[in-house]
């Protein structure tokens, strides 16, 4: 048992990102950097080492520079990638002189061969623990057991020839950019440029079957300032017109309007967040259409007023009235909940659509016992006479949280025709004859 051991879950993506960043940073040593996933980098230093004062100095320099960044590092140099990898993993800091791979690798454990786990295990089980011991067996003996490719691997590892490095490749992304010879200033030109960029971005998305959830526009001013504007959408989007209208809404709503100053020399549109999206076929279904229109309206409103200002209610699975729904940003789709309607359309609603922020205490001088509704009550300094009543609906609170009294809810209609949703906090047998009453909502 290790005390105070901190456990962090693996985050493969973050590891990969970090590796990429270190690879980028290694550009300063050689342009030929390859990722050796998941934890290694291969640097081709052919003809470079002398710049750093020779291989030995270069190796310690690179190691030191990476170590300073707080990373544990192992490294080695050899004539081939395979040998260098093996040394870096099993003989940190070793440099294999040209043509001496076999000698340098000999004492390494068989794991350094980095062949299939099954073969490694078989070698260990046979008592062959080092590369030297494996190398000493007959080639036919090995080939008949582990196949010709294993023998080839062994020879390559110990030899001097192999294939060159595969250089790194940039990730495909969705980005459209226009550069101007002369900085542009006029609204019309900017608009035309955005139009063209939106069309080309839309085309890219279409080809890849993607839709964007976050659209970003970058305006690079001639003087070096960059304005960045972003728009979120509720559904994956690839329609150029819609993109433009959302951008317009956003630009219109800016507190500081976009100022070209001496003009923009680059304008760029980026789909920063995308997701898979089936090609939208025009639907004849009205419902479908109206759903799209609502989604578009939500996007526009959110672009204009901010995404947290446009909200929708999501049903929650609970009996507790004040917790029955929560409001979330309308574009956010991480929240799901289903509104269940068990009752017939013709039945009057059991609860009001919206509840008071907080239940408000009312005074009830007269009510029926044991569970009758109030006959008369005062709320916000007004007196109400109850004409009709239905209930009670008995709702017990969640006992595993804080113990709270059970409530009896009533739907009441006053003489004036107003309809309210009231409750008594606690049953008579729990509270005695003077329970508290509350108003929780008003029926439309």
């Amino acid at each position: 048992m290790i005390q105070n051991l901190k456990i962090v879950p693996v985050d493969e993506k973050a590891d990969r990102d970090l590796l990429e960043r270190i690879a980028d940073w290694c550009d300063r040593f050689t342009p030929l950097v390859a990722l050796d996933q998941p934890q290694g980098l291969l640097l081709d230093i052919t003809g470079v080492a002398h710049l750093f004062g020779g291989e030995e100095k270069m190796l310690s320099f690179v190691r030191a520079r990476i170590a300073v960044q707080g990373l544990a590092v192992q490294g080695a140099i050899a004539g081939t990638c395979l040998a260098a990898r093996a040394l870096a993993r099993h003989a940190d800091g070793v440099i294999a002189p040209p043509g001496e791979n076999a000698r340098v690798l000999a004492p390494l454990p068989v794991a350094a061969l980095d062949y299939s786990e099954d073969v490694m295990r078989a070698l260990r089980r046979a008592g062959l623990k080092t590369i030297a011991q494996v190398e000493a067996r007959g080639r036919a003996e090995l080939a008949s057991r582990f196949g010709a490719s294993f023998v080839t691997r062994l020879d390559v590892m110990l030899g001097a020839e192999e294939k060159p490095l595969a250089p790194r490749r940039a990730l495909p992304d969705f980005r459209a950019e226009q550069r101007f010879a002369e900085p542009v200033v006029t609204k019309e030109v900017i608009a035309a440029s955005l139009h063209a960029l939106a069309a080309s971005l839309s085309g890219m998305l279409e080809r890849e079957g993607q839709g964007l959830r976050l659209l970003e526009a970058f305006f690079f001013r001639a003087d070096g300032k960059v304005d960045r504007i972003s728009v979120k959408t509720g559904t994956p989007l690839r329609n150029a017109d819609v993109m433009l209208r959302l951008l317009d809404e956003r630009l219109d709503a800016l507190a500081d309007p976009l100022d070209p100053g001496f003009g923009f020399d680059v304008i760029r549109l980026e789909a920063s967040v995308t997701e898979k999206n089936q090609t939208i076929t025009a639907s004849l279904d009205d419902d479908e259409n109206s759903r799209w229109q609502i989604a578009f309206l939500v996007d526009r409103l959110a672009a204009r007023f901010g995404e947290h200002r446009v909200q929708r209610f999501v049903a929650q699975d609970t009996h507790i009235p004040e917790a029955q729904s929560i409001a979330v940003p309308a574009q956010d789709r991480d929240f799901e909940g289903t509104w269940i309607r068990r009752r017939k359309e013709s039945d009057p609603p059991l609860r009001p659509l919206r509840l008071l922020e907080k239940p408000e205490e009312i005074s009830v001088p007269v009510s029926g016992v044991p569970e009758g509704a109030p006959v008369r009550f005062r709320w916000r300094r007004a007196q109400f006479d109850v004409a009709r009543v239905e209930g009670p609906e008995r709702i017990a609170m969640e006992w595993w949280k804080k113990e709270k009294p059970t409530r009896d809810y009533f739907r009441v209609e006053t003489r004036d025709g107003q309809r309210f949703w009231l409750y008594r906090d606690g049953l008579y047998r729990e509270t005695g004859l003077h329970p508290r009453w509350y108003m929780q909502g008003i029926f439309a």
């Binding site: 008592g127 003996e141 609970t318 039945d347």
Partner: protein, 1061 residues
């Protein structure tokens, strides 16, 4: 005003109801209900419990108990409560449920409305209201007469509106409306438990449960006045409940059993046939003439059997046993009715009534109200043949297994309750792991701390509290291992039958206690590993040794002194019953010299005698007969020798279950009813509350009659200890016979005994390693499993000097299949030339060959573990296509290669343990010895040479951990290359070192040596340290944590390495 509640769900609607049937029935009586109707979800599993509770009610105004079921349909029909009016309608209900169960997987029931219509005659039906009352119309219209529409007032907020609509629907359909409260628990305070079981059922936490839970706590049994108030708008619905209850005339008391006719030949009466069989059997048992005493007893028993009309029962048992004997399947009966002259004559038992007083008289006198009970043990590997015979003879609709109600035990309760409160699996797992075995009472604060949890943590506390309440709740029904109910008529006219998990196996919805309550007889067809072992040993002895066939029988005379000598030395590994640590401790103290001593030995190391403090008095009196005296009452209250007859055979100390029960009747003057209640109370642990009242009565009356208080208290402690694990004398006698027979084999044929034990695994307390070690201690030469020589089973062979050796079978190799072993045996002929020949002729898949090589089982071909693997590796890959038949595959030429590096002995031993769980080459600890020596740790053997009271540190592999019953001591057996060391841990110490005791594979124990006058050496543990990590030194590799094993026998010293297979 009065009212009958007709919609009651008990906790036998698993994870739906939150109250036991008896709680509901008792509450109904308290509330003064006119009737209570139990209607569980497509099941009658809980009705007998309700019936039993109902019969016990003492109130003047008894509520009527209605037996029914809540039919839940798969076709969208609303739930319907069905109550049979009479016995015939009840049969139809059973049939209906059986049909639904038979078409569903185990534990479910699939019904359509059409099924109900087919069987609805005589059933009174209550249609539960659908969410939309109008939906009930077509169903009401289609069901005809005898139908009610239910209405409930559950505070939904629109109860009155709903009621009005239901009234309308009922009026239109011309059916009466009937009030129900759709009860899920007896008291509103059970709402929280109801929520918890709902969460368990839905696999959610309380936080996630939402509307799956009930909105309020209204679904409890309500008083008539309250129901009348709720239904004031419709009082006729209340009146209707009474009318409904009055229309029903069925109670479970009407059920009786009619025994199958088959075993009685045409033209004979059952009694006559039994008499003939008995007389015939006795002449064969006593070829030199039946002793007069036996004759007389047999006559008495036959008369009694005729009186009670239970000859059928004996004939059925005889029929089954006769079948087994005709197939050469060993079997032996036990149970209250088994130790009779009749059963001896019928070959159901082998205990000679001349050797030991037969006990049938006890059965005659005490269990008058109980159905007779005979359990028959069969060889565990061949019991299936017997079961198939029963099915074949009586048919699936007349023979079925009884059920076992699987209940929440502390482990499962804390696990599930923890989940509901959102505790993670490792937290609940840790809490559960501190519970020893399956039985026990709730979790103590200390145990919670042992589980590395804070007992004051609110969530943990809550989870534990609910776990406590959940303990004893039925969880699901499972088939009993072998209890058969046989009937003359269709069984599913009496109780619903459903399929078991095993194909073609069916079981009823009632368990043993239910059947007892209803006085329905059953025959237990049980499996006993030792019988398999004995038969296999007999077969090996016949084949390899020169022994007369007749002497190889269960009925051998239990008189050989050398066998008793061996047992007195506690040399009992593998011997039936007495191989446990506690028994082995007792053997040198009790020093059995004759058969009855074995009977006592078997019975005395049980929770009852131990808790009652009866062990020491018995041993003392055995050593010094002058101490024998019989407790007696004050002369005013009874004769001074009233207990003499009862206790004379056990030297005045009650040891057997029925002695304790008889004490209640004789010394405490319990009425038969009271005695019965006492027996029930001690069998059902949830009834803990009721045992207190018996305690007062029992002790109070004995003291009043002039017995010593200490004696009375000890007797009652003993009764409590018996619980459900008491041993009646009859069981002990049957078992003692097997003790003798197995000990005899061990003594005289140790090689055959070890082979038979190994071939009968899994059974017994000990792992193969221990069995093999013990055989070697008995001078048996043991040979390793080898592909060149071994069979699947372990066998006997003669070595060059003609000495009998034990050859381990290929079955000892983990992961090696019996089909592959069969292939090896089939192709062996006069032997394999070499490994290439072996591989070619057997054509075994490479995987199998690898397993053999890893187990070092290719030595017969001159290949050790490494060389074997290297050779297997060279073989071409498996080719499944017949086109490339192995015969036509080109032979690889012989290969001449340099030798591979030698595998060190330590690694060989380690690999042996990893593949066959034992090693004949050495012992893991011998390679650690130098490092143990450095730490000043003594070897196991040297512990025995120390003086009493010496302090010592000793380490060894943990072979066995045992905690007998509810004993205060835990026994651990440590072993190393020098021998074994018996460690005793007192409960107090155990509580501190629970983790080490439960988890360590290599354990270091510090403590003091204790030597008894009989020479028994114990190490009394004071401190323990888990040294399992030392084993790592052998492998040079980290050991994976040990997987939890359910039986000590399955615990692996070394888990399989990641390197293997």
């Amino acid at each position: 005003m009065t009212y009958a509640e007709l919609a009651v769900t008990t906790n036998f609607s698993f994870l739906r109801g939150a109250s036991h049937p008896w709680e509901l029935v008792e509450r109904a009586a308290e509330l003064g209900l006119a009737a209570i109707g139990i209607a569980d979800r497509n099941s009658l599993a809980g009705v007998v419990r309700a019936h039993e509770a109902w019969k016990k009610l003492k109130t003047n105004e008894l509520p009527k108990l209605l037996i029914g079921a809540r039919l839940v349909f798969r076709d969208g029909t609303p739930d319907i409560l069905a109550y049979p009016k009479d016995r015939k309608a009840y049969a139809r209900l059973c049939r209906l449920l059986s049909i639904g169960k038979l078409r569903a997987p185990k534990g479910e029931c699939l019904l359509d409305l059409a099924d109900l219509k087919k069987y609805s005659r005589g059933l009174l039906l209550i249609v539960m209201p659908p969410a939309n009352p109008e939906d009930a119309k077509p169903i009401l219209a289609s069901l005809g007469a005898g139908v009610w529409l239910a209405a409930s007032m559950l505070y939904t907020g629109e109860d009155r509106r709903h009621l009005k609509r239901l009234k309308q629907v009922a009026r239109e359909a011309r059916v009466p409306l009937i009030a129900v409260n759709d009860v899920l628990y007896h008291d509103p305070t059970e709402r929280d438990l109801q929520d918890v079981v709902t969460c368990i059922r839905e696999h959610v936490t309380l936080r996630e449960a939402g509307k799956r839970l009930e909105a309020n706590a209204e679904r409890h049994l309500k008083a008539p006045g309250e129901m009348a108030r709720l239904f004031r708008a419709c009082p006729e619905a209340i009146g209707e409940t009474l009318r409904f209850a009055q229309a029903i005339h069925f109670t479970l008391s009407e059920l009786g059993q009619r025994y199958p006719r088959e075993p009685v030949p045409r033209g004979k009466t059952p009694d006559g046939h039994l008499r003939d069989l008995t007389e015939d059997g006795l002449t064969r048992r006593y070829p030199d003439g039946v002793p007069a005493k036996v004759k007389e007893l047999a006559e008495k028993e036959l008369r009694f059997i005729a009186n009670r009309k239970i000859a059928h029962y004996f004939l059925t048992v005889h029929d089954i046993v006769a079948f087994a004997r005709s197939r050469g399947i060993l079997c032996q009966g036990r149970g209250s009715a088994a130790n009779s002259v009749v059963c001896y004559a019928l070959h159901v038992t082998s205990v000679d009534p001349m050797e030991i007083d037969v006990l049938f008289e006890r059965f005659l006198s005490t269990e008058r109200t109980e159905p007779p009970d005979i359990d028959v043990d069969f060889e565990h590997e061949r019991r299936e043949e017997v079961i198939q015979y029963v099915y074949q003879r009586y048919g699936h609709r007349r023979a079925a297994l009884t059920a076992t109600v699987i209940r929440y035990r502390p482990r499962s309760a804390i696990r599930e309750a923890g989940k509901v409160f959102g505790l993670s699996e490792d937290v609940t797992g840790k809490l559960a792991s501190t519970v020893w075995g399956h039985y026990g009472e709730g979790l103590s604060d200390d145990q919670i701390r042992q589980g590395e949890q804070d007992p004051h943590n609110r969530l943990v506390k809550r989870a534990v509290m609910f776990a406590d309440r959940l303990i004893g709740f039925p969880r699901h029904l499972s088939q009993h291992v072998g209890g058969f109910v046989l009937t003359r008529d269709k069984l599913d006219w009496t109780v619903p039958i459903g399929p078991a998990a095993m194909e073609d196996r069916y079981f009823i919805e009632w368990d043993k206690d239910d059947l007892d309550t209803l006085k329905i007889m059953k025959v237990d067809v049980l499996a006993l590993g030792m019988l398999t072992c004995i038969r296999k040993a007999f077969a090996l002895i016949r084949a390899h040794e020169n022994v007369k066939d007749e002497s190889l029988t269960l009925a051998m005379k239990p008189t050989d002194p050398s066998v008793y000598d061996m047992l007195c030395n506690a040399d009992a590994v593998g011997v039936f019953q007495v191989e446990s640590r506690a028994q082995m401790n007792m053997l040198p103290r009790l020093r059995p010299r004759e058969f009855y001593d074995l009977v006592v030995e078997v019975a005395i190391v049980r929770p009852g005698p131990i808790q009652g403090g009866m062990v020491h008095p018995y041993l003392k009196r055995r050593a010094n007969p002058s101490l024998i005296k019989f407790p007696s009452p004050h002369p005013d209250h009874g004769p001074p020798d009233e207990l003499y007859e009862l206790l004379k055979k056990t030297k005045g100390v009650p040891l057997f279950q029925e002695q304790a029960m008889r004490l209640a009747i004789v010394a405490a003057q319990f009425s038969p009813d009271e005695a019965n209640g006492l027996r029930r109370a001690m069998a059902t642990f949830r009834h803990v509350g009721t045992i207190g009242t018996f305690q007062e009565k029992f002790i109070g009356r004995m003291i009043a009659r002039g017995y010593e208080k200490e004696f009375a208290q000890a007797c009652f402690e003993q009764i409590k200890g018996f619980g459900s694990y008491g041993f009646p004398e009859s069981h002990a006698a049957s078992f003692a016979l097997l003790v003798y027979v197995s000990a005899w084999i061990k003594k005289h044929h140790p090689a055959a005994f070890a082979a038979a034990l190994l071939n009968s695994q899994p059974m017994g307390f000990y792992a193969p390693a221990e069995i093999v070690r013990c055989a070697r201690d008995h001078q048996v030469k043991v040979l390793a499993p080898d592909a060149a020589y071994s069979h699947w089973d372990s066998t006997l062979e003669r070595d060059a000097e003609g000495k009998l050796c034990l050859r381990l079978g290929l079955r000892q190799i983990d992961g090696f299949g019996d089909a592959d072993a069969q292939t090896i045996m089939d192709n062996r002929g006069f032997g394999y030339r070499d490994f290439a020949d072996f591989a070619r002729r057997t054509g075994l898949p490479k995987r199998a060959l690898v397993i053999l090589a890893e187990a070092d089982a290719l030595r017969g071909f001159g290949l050790d573990r490494r060389e074997g693997l290297w050779a297997v590796r060279r073989l071409p890959d498996d080719r499944p296509l017949p086109l490339f038949d192995r015969i036509s595959a080109p032979d690889q030429g012989p290969e001449h290669i340099a030798p591979l590096p030698q595998l060190p002995l330590g690694e060989h031993v380690l690999a042996d343990y990893q593949t066959i769980r034992l090693s004949l080459k050495g012992y893991p600890t011998q390679f650690l010895r130098s490092c143990l020596d450095e730490d000043g740790i003594a070897s196991c053997q040297s512990v025995g040479t120390l003086t009493d009271g010496a302090f010592v540190r000793c380490a060894g592999i943990v072979l066995v951990r045992q905690r007998p019953g509810e004993g205060t001591a835990i026994f651990i057996t440590l072993s190393d290359e020098t021998g074994i060391c018996n460690v005793v841990v007192w409960a107090r110490t155990f509580d501190r070192f629970r983790k080490e005791v439960m988890g360590a594979r290599l354990l270091l124990v510090e403590g003091r040596v204790q030597k008894s006058p009989e020479g028994v050496v114990h190490l009394m543990a004071e401190r323990m340290i888990d040294r399992s990590s030392d084993l790592r030194l052998l492998s040079g590799d980290a050991l994976p944590p040990a997987a939890p094993a359910h039986h000590p026998r399955d615990v692996r010293v070394l888990p399989p390495s990641r390197d293997f297979h």
